[in-house]
Symmetry: C2
Subunit: 242 residues, 2 copies
């Protein structure tokens, strides 16, 4: 039924999610774990791992002694903030057609960025500005600062259109590990109002200020992303952990 890679757990998870989205389970009830394990020919632990991930995503609810059930409210949550998702895929989750525009690419020093990334103050950075559209409406604007020195291979503008956490492994001879993200609200400055085509009456935006770390836990890049909150609602599930 399943192959070796990606992991069995991941395959079972996406299989179950597909079944859920297609409405293949009656009464919003998911079969018992032992039954799923038998049918899919995997161990119960594997099924449980897959279900645990779906529970964290908010897709299902488990009740000891009662069973496992689909969570319709949770299906509204499109973005797991704790996961790294390409903005393109995020826009698709909202049922929109995504598009990426490469606004500008410059090389310049940035002492403020240098300090955050533990680099020399006069070191040059590649500043890449991008805009993401959903159904032709601008919804995200991102600025990425990449130390020029870590780039080891030649790249084209098309390469820069890709998510930076994919660019790094391919062009910088290092792996990407995680983002440390700070959530910052702001009143958009004029340049952002026009870049995102915001309505004239000023309202607030959310931005992510992120530092990306490589496999050695060294800071490798800085990025700021601005979200048009009226079109792209950021939702999340909050649960009791213990």
């Amino acid at each position: 039924m399943f192959q070796r890679s990606p992991s069995l757990v991941e395959q079972v998870k996406s299989y179950l999610k597909r079944q859920i989205l297609q409405g293949n389970f009656d009464n919003g009830r998911i079969p018992a774990e032992v039954e799923l394990a038998r049918n899919l020919n995997v161990s119960r632990n594997t099924v449980r791992d897959a279900l645990s991930r779906l529970e964290i995503e908010g897709v299902i609810i488990r009740r000891q002694g009662a069973g496992t059930f689909i969570n319709k409210a949770g299906l509204m949550v499109k973005s797991q903030l704790s996961e790294i998702v390409p903005y393109q895929a995020l826009i698709e989750e909202y049922g929109c057609t995504p598009a990426i525009e490469l606004i500008s690419v410059e090389e310049l020093p940035s002492p403020a960025t240098a300090e955050k990334l533990h680099r020399h103050a006069d070191e040059p950075f590649l500043l890449v500005k991008k805009r993401f559209l959903a159904d032709n409406q601008p919804v995200i604007f991102s600025s990425t600062y990449l130390p020029t020195r870590i780039i080891r291979r030649a790249y084209t503008p098309d390469d820069l259109r890709r998510p930076v956490f994919e660019f790094i492994p391919e062009f910088c001879e290092q792996d990407f590990s995680y983002f440390l993200t700070e959530l910052v609200p702001l009143i958009p400055p004029d340049w952002l109002v026009s870049a995102l085509k915001l309505p004239p009456q000023k309202s607030a935006l959310v931005s992510f200020e992120e530092i990306g770390y490589n496999q050695n836990n060294e800071p490798a890049l800085m990025a700021i992303s601005y979200f048009r909150n009226d079109l792209l609602r950021l939702r999340l599930i909050r649960q009791n952990s213990s």
Copy 2:
């Protein structure tokens, strides 16, 4: 070494976190999983579950073939947005002394809230307003709407000062399951500026608009919380999930 409840995994996790915070591991390296399992007299799976949770929290980094290491950068992340944490505990995480003020308690109808919670438009709600201080500075303001009808026991103002997800199991004969939260930036209105003693030059705030669900996955309450972002930075770790 360990007891039966809470779960072994939880005990191992908090034990390891304590060791990490106390600096009991040299070179930022955590012993091998098999060694931890042997020393703590639990199975390797139990150790792995505990380590996985610490990894999600950003406290450690695991590298296949190399080992498990402390993540100093990740220790800056105080709030797991995907977890429900009492605001009081959150403020303590930032190293501040917390205080809770019960601002007001009213009973009133709220058609907008009623619609979100699938209740009759003219049904009364208990509106509880609270303010949270960190080192005597106001940092969070929260408004909670609770359908009056679900309250089954008499309560005192002191009971209302507690987190609402603790109030519900105790006074409403239902369990609390999770919050569905929407992240909304806003320019603070005047009443909020004075409630949080914000500086005169206007800046933006983040708010959480949350709907709380009970064990039957029915909406039970609505809450809005406003965070003073200059004092309480919201940080999170974003990782590759697969």
